[in-house]
Amino acid sequence: MSNNLKILAIIFLLFIAIIITLFVRKNKISIKYSIIWYFMCLILAILTLFPNLLGLVTNFFGIQIASNMVFAIMIGGLFIITISLTIIVSIQKEQIKNLIQEISILKNKK
């Protein structure tokens, strides 16, 4: 990995982290759900700064090219994020349903 590429990758990750922080600051992402994104940025940053670490893991699993390992890690991370989003949506659907029911019952009480 060339130094230029490393710098680019770090800048990109910082950019993502800053965007997440800005959204958290504006209350558009809650702290609870921002953590997983910071965590993902952190892992990718570590792998960028210490490529040997990636080599170790790649060799361990017998993967030929290090970049494939990066893809695998990222896809894994995205899986976790999407599943957690599905959970959040399902919980919210239940909560919204309960709200609709309670409000409707209250509204029609005379």
């Binding site: 659907k93 029911q101 409000i103 409707s104 019952i105 029609n108």
Partner: protein
């Protein structure tokens, strides 16, 4: 003995063509048979004139502020029944499929205290008259029935019937948790696992007199997958409050 307080819950989504008739039939029945079934229509965010009819004819109803679908609508009725301390809640279709004369038949087993839930069933007698749905749907119903039998050991002949009565315990249970989609077959798994007693009595149903059925043909495959999966998941859930 104090007379049981009975609430008939009628979920209605765009039922302007039928709702008034359904309500009138129940009121006439009350008058002629000296019963006092209360009625509560749940207007599930109808986009037609259902609400206008309900208001104009003073039909007791709750208008949901958003459309919730059949499960959420009926559950609103159960929550109302629970808050208002009803002894029995009867689920009843607003589209003219169900006959009020049979309400007595499905609440009797519950009043006797022997059963917790009673289904008005189309398929219990082999040569039963009345409307029995299309052939494709009957096959689907048979499959669901077998699935329930496999997972709980109990045969329910008409697991998709939307005509059923429940007692106080189940009213409480349903007001806290009730399936949002295709609630009837799925709810039997959890009820049977919680050792509630379920009875089926034979009723005659009519073909819909107007409006559109909530289950469309193209959704049938999705329906079967969804119900089968739900039955399986429901069978491996953990319950805290087993009777």
């Amino acid at each position: 003995m104090k007379k049981a307080r009975i609430l008939i819950i009628i979920p209605a989504y765009n039922e302007e063509a039928n709702i008034l008739n359904t309500y009138k039939k129940i009121m006439d029945y009350n008058k002629n048979n000296n019963t006092n079934y209360d009625v509560l229509v749940i207007n599930d965010g109808s986009t037609d004139n259902t609400e206008m009819f309900l208001k104009e004819f003073n039909i007791p109803h709750i208008k949901l502020i958003e459309n919730l679908g059949i499960g959420g609508a009926v559950q609103t009725g159960y929550k109302y029944a629970y808050e208002n301390n009803y002894d029995i809640a009867v689920q009843f279709d607003g589209d003219g499929q169900h006959n009020v004369e049979y309400v007595k038949d499905i609440i009797d087993p519950i009043i006797s205290g022997k059963y917790d839930l009673c289904i008005g069933s189309r398929f219990i007698l082999p040569d039963q008259e009345g409307f029995k749905s299309s052939k494709a749907r009957r096959i689907g119903i048979k499959m669901i029935s077998s699935l329930i039998k496999i997972f709980t050991g109990k045969k329910i002949y008409d697991p998709t019937s939307g005509f059923r009565a429940i007692n106080k315990d189940i009213i409480k249970d349903f007001s806290s948790i009730y399936p949002m989609e295709y609630p009837e077959p799925i709810s039997y798994i959890s009820l049977l696992r919680k050792n509630y007693k379920i009875k089926e009595v034979s009723v005659v149903m009519n073909e819909r007199t107007g409006g559109k059925s909530s289950i469309h043909t193209w959704k049938n495959i999705y329906y079967m997958i969804n119900v089968s999966l739900s039955i399986f998941i429901e069978s491996i859930k953990r319950y805290k409050d087993v009777k």
